[in-house]
Amino acid sequence: MHMPLSDTLGLNLMAANQHQADHNREHFDAWNLLCLNVMSSPGAGKTSLLERTITALAPHLEMAVLEGDMTTQLDAQRLEAVGVPVVPITTGRACHLDAAMVSGGLRQLQAQLDPAALDLLWVENVGNLVCPAEFEVGEHLKVALLSVTEGDDKPLKYPVMFREADCVLITKVDLLPYLPVAVERIETHIRSVNPAAEVFQVSASSGAGLDAWHQWVLATTREHTRQAALVEVG
């Protein structure tokens, strides 16, 4: 018997993950918060960016972080130090967060605080440009980072990640004077695979470009949670 499964099952190979991701998103929507899934290769600067961004946005938004890390809690400790609730999710050998792991993290978060008080939940994914692109965790938007030291060919070598991202941050732009890399070329390659993406050039270390990114986060969160108009970020 040759039986199409479409009637009995979702057609999606990832249906089991997708169901859990949809369930997570229902929670986020019930709590009226925005969830951003932050992804990049290891060392592109996710944690450094979040340190700066969370500090800058703390007067305006209630935030928490679900911190994916393969073995350590080092990143979680760094983000706790900027004064935000952090739930570490140690993935062990898994090279990405999946929806079930995030669901477990949400239960821990609920033990600490009332998520309905939050405006924005950051999910910092495991450093990897391949797997996290296919494993939705229930996020509303995907943010991908690419550091200028990784080279301008990465959007073409790992196109699915940069295609799926709603927002791409080109990080460490303060290092450009020391590198044989043209940032315009990186941006062109990103836009070639994903013309709809918001693209920002930033440096968490010098602070360059962070204001525009912070305004975007604030405006996107406000729009999502149907709050009042954009305010000045200090």
């Binding site: 018997m1 040759h2 039986m3 199409p4 499964l5 009995t8 099952l9 979702g10 057609l11 999606n12 190979l13 990832m14 249906a15 089991a16 993950n17 898994a94 090279c95 990405h96 999946d98 391949v130 797997c131 692109a133 296919e134 494993f135 073409l156 070598k157 196109p159 699915v160 295609r163 062109t188 390659h189 836009r191 070639s192 695979v193 994903n194 013309p195 709809a196």
Partner: protein
């Protein structure tokens, strides 16, 4: 090796489907997937992990058949459908436009299952736990 987790997802879906057939246990000979070229899935790795994962389960003896689907996109300029080339930054050869609309290549689908239904109730002890 995210194909391991993808295989787990696939097995969960197949297990759900099997429960819908109870009290009969379908004997599956093949599972057909559609996998787009513009995904993070390596078909060979998926076949390998599937074969390892079904050993000794109700799916033992079944094969994973994977149809790959080429990446195709519609040109923003002239609406013609083209095959994006990484060496051309995935841009359209006709109008040099970015890859706006993907027509195919993002598929990750369970398409169908080849199976037979023996006409006796399944032995509950033979059903693997999830």
């Amino acid at each position: 090796m995210h194909e391991v987790d993808m295989t787990k997802c696939l097995l969960l879906s197949l297990h759900e489907w099997k429960r819908g057939q109870e009290p009969l246990t379908p004997v599956v000979s093949a599972v057909h997937l559609q996998v787009g070229d513009f995904t993070c899935v390596e078909p060979e790795a998926l076949r390998f992990t599937f074969a390892a994962a079904v050993e000794g389960t109700w799916l033992d003896g079944s094969t994973l058949e994977i149809d790959t689907v080429p990446l195709r996109a519609r040109c923003l300029g002239c609406s013609s459908v083209y095959s994006p080339d990484p060496d051309q930054a995935y841009r359209s050869p006709c109008c040099d436009q970015p890859m706006e609309e993907i027509v195919s290549g993002r598929e990750l689908r369970i398409r169908s299952v080849d199976y037979s239904l023996p006409q006796q109730a399944s032995d509950p002890a033979a059903v693997p736990s999830r």
